[in-house]
């Protein structure tokens, strides 16, 4: 079959209509579309763009400082530090949480500093937060601020946020020591949840932290919250 004849360029409004209709359960489509052309990338990284993902939101601007941190710590993409600093922004970080278990963050280079997106919920505007993980409609945030709980589970749609209790001393987050990771998930025990709306109205969630010790053991901290009840436990394994 001969290749299709080239289309005359579509106006921005029309391209946006198309991008908006990429399937909501496949955010990778959006990532790939961002690389099709400068026009498409500009549209996708525009704060006014309506992301085609049901539980999605523009997150933070990635600053020069963040890029530096990223280069230092490139192996762990969930630990990209993000700080709100429009004046020195070099790229936009979009955190997308999807109905599937896989949350993600994408970083899209931008050519100009961006203003805070109108759709950005107030809680996200606070400085000093970095996103650890995003799944099932929630985001696990971390801060080193002294006045706040270090970890917060945040629902970007409703702006509800829930501070996690202090971690056991053994697991205190201390910068670069060991390799850290964390995840927030829906805690639906029956496996019947479609994860489309489970983060609203205080649905149950669980948070898991891992720390890889230098001696090859793994610490695992699990916290489950169902309504107002919390259960937490620390497990340590040398035979992970």
């Amino acid at each position: 079959m001969p290749p299709p004849p080239p289309w005359p360029p579509l106006g921005e409004e029309l391209v946006e209509e198309i991008l908006f209709r990429l399937p909501p359960d496949d955010p990778a489509s959006l990532v790939r579309a961002a690389l099709v052309s400068k026009q498409w990338r500009r549209l996708i990284s525009d704060p006014g763009f309506r992301l085609p993902v049901c539980n999605s939101f523009y997150f933070y601007l990635n600053t020069k400082r963040a890029r530096h941190d990223l280069e230092k710590n490139s192996a762990d993409s969930t630990a990209i530090p993000q700080r709100w600093d429009p004046s020195s922004s070099t790229s936009l970080v979009v955190a997308i949480t999807t109905p599937s278990a896989r949350g993600l963050m994408i970083r899209i280079p931008t050519e100009r500093p961006l203003l805070p997106p109108a759709s950005c919920p107030p809680f996200a505007i606070g400085r000093g937060w970095r996103a650890f993980d995003a799944r099932h409609g929630r985001v696990l945030l971390h801060t080193i601020s002294w006045t706040r709980a270090p970890f917060v589970v945040w629902d970007p749609i409703s702006d509800d946020h829930h501070e996690l209790p202090a971690l056991p001393p053994l697991l205190k987050f201390s910068g670069d020591e060991g390799s850290w990771s964390g995840a927030v998930l829906c805690a639906d025990a029956n496996g019947t949840c479609d994860h489309l709306d489970c983060c609203h109205q205080g649905g149950p969630f669980r948070v898991v932290f891992f720390r890889d010790q230098i001696n090859e053991s793994v610490d695992l901290y699990l916290l489950i919250r169902i309504r107002c009840l919390e259960r937490a436990g620390l497990y340590s394994s040398a035979t992970w």
Partner: protein
Amino acid sequence: MAAPESGDGNNGAARMVTLISSDNTRFEVEAAAASLSQTLQLTILDGGGGGGDGIPLPNVDSATLSKVLEYCIKHAPAAANGGAPNATAVDRAELERFDNEFVNIDQSVLYSLIMAAHNLEIEGLQSLVAKKVADMIKGKSPMEIRRTLGFPDPTPEEQAEMNAHMLEYGWAYE
């Protein structure tokens, strides 16, 4: 406030209007169907398009206009019911089947439809064709999307940027 005589086709003979394509073909169609176009709606409400006059559409050729009107005629009854909240499941399934068939078309026709739906502001059709293009590009790599839509080959600078992006977001290309 009492609405003026709107001339909808609920009482016997439906009001007809004439549309004239860029290549001077005349299409006679029910006013209710043509009114799916926001652009045409005002003219038709003002009484235009009737009799021997006709509404000229210099941006739409006859092949595209006949396709557009096929859509409008099919969707007009549901639109007249205010989006058909009381339509049966059968009706809705039938419209959906029609829509799927309708966009199963050559890419050049699809492009003309996108432009026509945009110029004539036919909301449902705009949405339908945009969804079709989104379906065409989903699951494809940036290069494949470019080829699908007939973009020119990327400049070396664009190519380098694509390669870097693919390295960084390998998961998106699995």
